[in-house]
Symmetry: C2
Subunit: 314 residues, 2 copies
Amino acid sequence: MELTSPLDALRSRFVQGDVLALSRLISWVENHRGGYEALLDSLFERTGNALRVGITGPPGAGKSTLVNHLAGAFRKRGQTVGILACDPSSPFSGGALLGDRVRMSAVSDDPGVFIRSLASRDALGGLSSTTNEVALLCEAYGFDVILLETVGVGQAEVDVMHSADTVVVTLVPQSGDVVQAMKAGLMEIADVFCLNKSDQPGADLLEHSLRQLLSLSMRDWTPPIVSTVAVQGKGVGALRAAVLDHEAFLGVAGQAQRQQQRLTSMLKENAEARWRRAAWNAEGQALLTRLARDVAQKKRAPFEAVGCLVEALG
Amino acid sequence: MELTSPLDALRSRFVQGDVLALSRLISWVENHRGGYEALLDSLFERTGNALRVGITGPPGAGKSTLVNHLAGAFRKRGQTVGILACDPSSPFSGGALLGDRVRMSAVSDDPGVFIRSLASRDALGGLSSTTNEVALLCEAYGFDVILLETVGVGQAEVDVMHSADTVVVTLVPQSGDVVQAMKAGLMEIADVFCLNKSDQPGADLLEHSLRQLLSLSMRDWTPPIVSTVAVQGKGVGALRAAVLDHEAFLGVAGQAQRQQQRLTSMLKENAEARWRRAAWNAEGQALLTRLARDVAQKKRAPFEAVGCLVEALG
């Protein structure tokens, strides 16, 4: 497939380090506009050199502030940082609200930091596959570090963390936080725990509960627990160090394994998306509507109708 | 497709109103055990007579307590109630924690109330399609009212609400709650707003912000705002009345339209799930792994590999 001309022009500017071109290409990929697949293929050679760090946790855990300061900690060592904040967005408005971008003002004047909110658009593939595609674009652009932020409630949001090499789960001293995190499946994906707002009452208890839970873990890597007060920037250096420790633990083989898992998901999800696009063309949609009407009128049972659909769609 | 013998026995007991059989059939459907499709088809004739009410909102909004008391309000009028609480569950443990069931103790001794936590199991289809299937089973069992509870963060959880005729969005006086709800897409799906913990500071401000937002709405139905203090049972009667008002507004035509939308989603998702099962058999998985390895080694670009996959899977 050949690249279309405006896309070609953006790609040339992107390769020269034009941040506006990066921003526009992210929209292009996010919206799955024509040629985005060929674009990602053509840039794929440049990927694979960034450190990918995921930050997740319950709403109100101070993730955005933490990401902000963590970016600063990497910047101090001269590394460039791309921040991708994935909000569960409205199915109607189709766009993320500006909240995260506004709160990021501390690093937003630094040209070595790039910040982007991603909206989840269900029709075009999951939040996690789109995020992974955008992260590949950011890798190709040349960021040293990519920070992926999602709210840690909901399967789609938690799945985003599979795009990271190291996952930081952020909790705050507040009754039920550990239970909520367990429910959301955050305990199993955590490589590092961050106890934020650790100056608030209940911090010791939270740390104690976490340590007890972790003592039951059978994993080779025991996630360290780092206490922070993100609004004051306290403990952020230690958090960065814990992330680097985990990267060192993974090593080349471990990172290659995580990358292989990511690529497997990416191929699988995109193959499924192509099938869906082919299946639900005008003809497929019309058949679907007709069958649903039959079922609603009890002329047909639901899975009998599913059988008809599958047969017709091949 | 013929029903297998143990399933047949459970079905007979289910039809006679045996609640243990209901419970076991829910597990059967939830786990997509063999014959569940034929089971649902054979019971489909009995469905369509229940009022389906969804209750969602941010974590900590008191949804479980509210569901508990709302169930009580319906019981007072002699109606039977099935409660389905959908937790985002761990992808590893594969099960919901007991929290919700424990907190429901007030109604759990009443034989006219049935309570069940559903786990989201990604491999077997989304949370919303499984919930809809279990809700159909509950309708066939004969409940007058089905209450569906999910946490209102995350697309998958919000999608569950599409299985309801009336959606109650629960908010509490707490800074940022409305913004979080907007981000999660809750504003657009709300048919009724419940301001819970309305005795706490900030309740007036929350109600004011909500009214302002609602004044911008272009919908035919303006969601009423009901103030409650769920732990004391205050305002729960008014909440039930608001739900019934919305049902009356929908009328027969509106309810039929929502049912038709539900059935369309159900057919579509199940057709896709069947395709996935066929595609990712041992052979398909092996090809996927081989291609992902090629991509990881940069022998092939990712979407080139997707093309190979789609061609091979037909």
